[in-house]
């Protein structure tokens, strides 16, 4: 069976690695990025200087041909071929779209020059190795850097730049950091931690434009906030989320919602075409997480070799580790801000800067946070993944403390 994988990111590389030992499959990978497949999760660590870029290369498991630096431009489903930008045509029995996602670029004045797609000098998204290497090459001790976006990516980037000695300001539109994952109190603790690393955090602070010098490369000078205030900046990181890359699927006429729609066999609306990773949407969910991408790749390998269970979705905790002299660990999942009628169990230790919380609705766990104290993270992950009714007699205290529960 000829399997063609479009995309040599984490999902694509994982899939080819899983298929490598299987007989009867011939795998071709079409990968647009010029780099060997790398572990995207670790880009912030590369930026922070903790790893050399070549260290995060993924294991070279692709025994099939990897066509690096080649872009798939069209899928002809009738002929079952992929047409590439170098003029080659690659036939498939099964096609796997693992095209990933792109950084969302916010609508800022001055971001794009008239009719041109290039960002001003010093302005970077934070998504690819190219972004990472460019940032890493530009950052120096004392450089003034502004990170736009206070989600997981923005927080990671700010921490990494601070570790390199930059003077970092993080500007976020929302009320507190990592709004999708944390409640107000946890956001405050995270903010205090970032402050201790030298990162200045501005919340409820919308960025509306960029100012740059004219001339070659348009080097950035400052970031303009909604109230007109300007933050000086030599480096700007745009960490405003990601969007599935679905262009190839769309033009091939596959069902696309937010992502490429797939079923429990990771199959698109064409039974000969599958989609995994950030570009896919399963059961209404676009995960955009490496852990989910890995599980989808593993499940698709099982589907393609008719060996085991289908994909049933991923219920993983969101995890963030901010390394440094005093590492900060955060785990969160589900709805962490309670609705009326929910039960909340919360342990806060201001002295140690730890915070733990679970939200339950009836006999169900609906959300939780561990910040700074992760002893029960395995237990909590199991409870969340298991999605079973909570025991009626016992308090969920054991989900927050080793000494809790029976």
């Amino acid at each position: 069976m000829r399997i063609v994988v479009v995309g040599a990111g984490m999902a694509g590389a994982r899939l080819t690695g899983q298929l490598a030992p299987c007989g009867g499959v011939e795998v071709t990978v079409v990968g647009e990025e010029p780099y060997a497949p790398y572990n995207r999760v670790l880009l912030a660590e590369v930026l922070a200087g903790r790893y050399q870029a070549d260290v995060i290369r993924l294991p070279d498991a692709a025994r099939g041909a990897v066509r690096r630096g080649v872009r798939a431009v069209r899928v002809d489903r009738a002929e079952r071929v992929v047409v590439c930008d170098d003029g080659t045509v690659v036939p498939y029995d099964r096609l796997v779209l693992a095209t990933g996602s792109n950084a969302v670029l916010p609508p800022l004045r001055g971001l794009f020059a008239e009719g041109r797609g290039e960002l001003p000098g010093g302005v970077h998204a934070f998504r690819t190795m190219e972004d990472c290497l460019a940032l890493s090459g530009a950052v120096r001790a004392g450089a003034r850097a502004v990170v736009v976006g206070g989600g997981l990516l923005g927080v990671s980037a700010a921490r990494a730049l601070a570790a390199r000695g930059a003077q970092v300001v993080l500007a976020q539109q929302g009320e507190h950091l990592m709004e999708r994952h944390l409640d107000q109190a946890a956001g405050q603790l995270l903010r205090a931690h970032l402050a201790s690393l030298g990162v200045e955090v501005h919340t409820e602070c919308r960025v509306r434009g960029l100012h740059h010098a004219t001339g070659a490369g348009r080097p950035v000078r400052s970031v303009e906030l909604a109230d007109g205030y300007r933050l000086d900046a030599e480096l700007v990181v745009l960490a405003c989320g990601v969007r599935p890359r679905v262009g190839l699927a769309q033009s091939a006429g596959l069902d696309v919602a937010k992502g490429i729609v797939v079923d429990d066999e990771l199959r698109t609306s064409d039974p000969y075409v599958h989609a995994i990773g950030d570009c896919s949407q399963h059961d209404g969910v676009v995960y955009g997480l490496a852990g989910a991408a890995t599980e989808q790749a593993d499940a698709l390998a099982r589907v393609l070799t008719r060996n085991g269970r289908n994909y049933r979705g991923t219920r993983a905790l969101t995890r963030l580790t901010l390394n440094g002299p005093q590492a900060m660990d955060i785990a969160a999942f589900g709805e962490t801000t309670a609705m009326p009628g929910d039960d909340v169990l919360r342990l806060a230790d201001a002295t140690r800067g730890t915070y733990r919380k679970v939200v339950t609705r009836g006999d169900r766990l609906v959300g939780g946070i561990l910040l700074g104290e992760l002893a029960t993270v395995g237990e909590l992950a199991r409870a969340w993944e298991g999605d079973e009714p909570l025991p009626d007699r016992a308090s969920p205290l054991h989900l927050l403390t080793d000494n809790g529960g029976s």
């Binding site: 690695g17 993924l58 294991p59 002893a375 993270v377 395995g378 237990e379 016992a394 529960g405």
Partner: protein, 693 residues
Amino acid sequence: MTATSTVDTHCPYCALQCGMGLRPTAGGTVEVVERDFPVNKGALCGKGRTAPGVLLAEGVRLTGPLVRSGATGELEPASWGAALDRVAEGLVRVRAGHGADAVGVFGGGGLTNEKAYALGKFARVVLKTSQIDYNGRFCMSSAAAAHQRAFGLDRGLPFPVADIARTGCVILVGSNLADTMPPALRYLTELKANGGKLIVVDPRRTRTAEQADLHLQPRPGTDLALALGLLHLVVAEGLVDEAFVEERTHGWPEARAAAMAHWPELVERITGVPVPALREAVRLFCGTPEGMVLTARGPEQQAKGTDTVGAWINLCLATGRAGRPRSGYGCLTGQGNGQGGREHGQKADQLPGYRKLDDPAARAHVAGVWGVDPDDLPGPGRSAYELLDALGRDVKGLLLMGSNPVVSAPRAAHITERIAALDFLAVCDVVLSETAAMADVVLPVTQWAEETGTVTNLEGRVLLRRKAIDPPDGVRSDLYVLNVLAAHLGWEKGFATNPEEVFDELRRASAGGPADYSGITYRRIAEEEGVFWPCPADSHPGTPRLFLDRFATPDGRARFVPVMHRPSAEEPDAEYPLYLTTGRVLAQYQSGAQTRRVAELNAAAPGPFVQLHPQLADRLGVADGEPVAVTSRRGRAVAPARVSRGIRPDTVFMPFHWPGEGRANTLTNPALDPASRMPEFKVCAVRVERAQA
């Protein structure tokens, strides 16, 4: 021999092989007395102290051959002559009817080196069968395979056990040595007293884990990911010993890439071990210049056991904790002669001296010692589980020595059926084990205090067990059995009954091999408190510490093997939602054939149980002591609940020493490791329910 003289010997049980003295008593048995020996320094556990209980006790010991009567179908007493005739006749009949490979041989890790050697020779030379393997395959074979892959040589510990007390940090993976080899605990206690650190990796909070500075409690079957996660952090923290990696290893870039694909948060998700605990483990392990990783059955008895051990070895190599004093990877071998038993030819793919059966030079050398044509030696045969699984089908007759697979094999109900389907079964044992009870002929053989022979302990130290008393009338040695059977089958010579004579032949057969015993003699063993192999000449001092100058690979460098985590063969699902893991308890040993016959041990550990967490017990509505049924895809076992916080809520534990309704191995999964052919005893998926009382 005077009634008061004390004989220096070693314990009949585990791979530590504690030194002990035996003083014959007026009653015809022996009394155990303290003996100062480097391994145990006089200490013994309850099993060792009570070992004489298996010698003579009424109704315990077999004291004459038994032959199954054609008339009654029962085992009935017979003379040695009649019994051996029957065995020879049975084996010949099977061979005549179905060919040489229809006769199988199954050995044990409790047999002395001499017996293991003679049994392998008997299979290959007399029976001409390729179908020989032994229960050591169920013991440390994954560590053996990983050792070979990384270091080019397999010896359990590359250093004397006493070195453990003098290193900086020990990571003990899947070993409950406080219960399984109690006298070894002193080295961990001394380690801590010396300021060293102890990290224990175990899904259960065992007595051993209680001693640890840090206890990591992963999901069963995920220690491969755990090791990769630690290696990842070693890279991240800049703790790789680049000079060591450069000078003494191969393959680091690939192994590093595999580790980098297991970032800490992913490893936390797979294992359930929090990232801060992983960081703490790396801090402790790398916070001192010397360190060791020791594994036991936990990581080894998995369908990915070889890779799991390989991942731990990679951690040692990357940090330069191998091939240096007081540092390295080691395996805590389980059975008494688990080490020697795997070196001298009762393993399906091996010849004496740890030679490979498919190596023409090895075949030529050993055939020369045996006086046969190398081309007449059979090739490699089936591994232990595969051999047992083939009984009654391809393999119709079996000679079994020192093993009790009815209790100890995975998927034991199926294996019991296979044994029952044999045309002919002969068993040599000390007691009427559950497997012996199924035999056509049972031959009562000598043990431990009644015979002389060598064993090789977990350190690779060759030891001499000495005869202290005469066996009961009607009991003969295994060497005698092989000698007579060989003669019946046309080999009047070549199977000595004197152990020292057999050992001298073993020395010649092992000469030049990886496990070279040629310089070791009974006298040297006695004078030098054991001799560590390799010992290639009379003038050679033996090798207490391996790899200090070079590893045993052709180029002298250790080899990283890039390993990736993968799930267990059977993961929990809706129907079987829990993990089962199995192991041992303090007062019993292996299939219990010996220890279940000692009153004091039975009083301490009278029967099987199911250990489960209070949260799980609560959900099931089970109270401590109530019977619970544990069901897997292979069968059902029932035993009382033992409710304890010392286990993960997603896992239950059963000890495997007992037959019958509470037999843990009814449940276990025979999925095999592709390299070592080790079954996955340590993890399978089960359902647990209340059982009717």
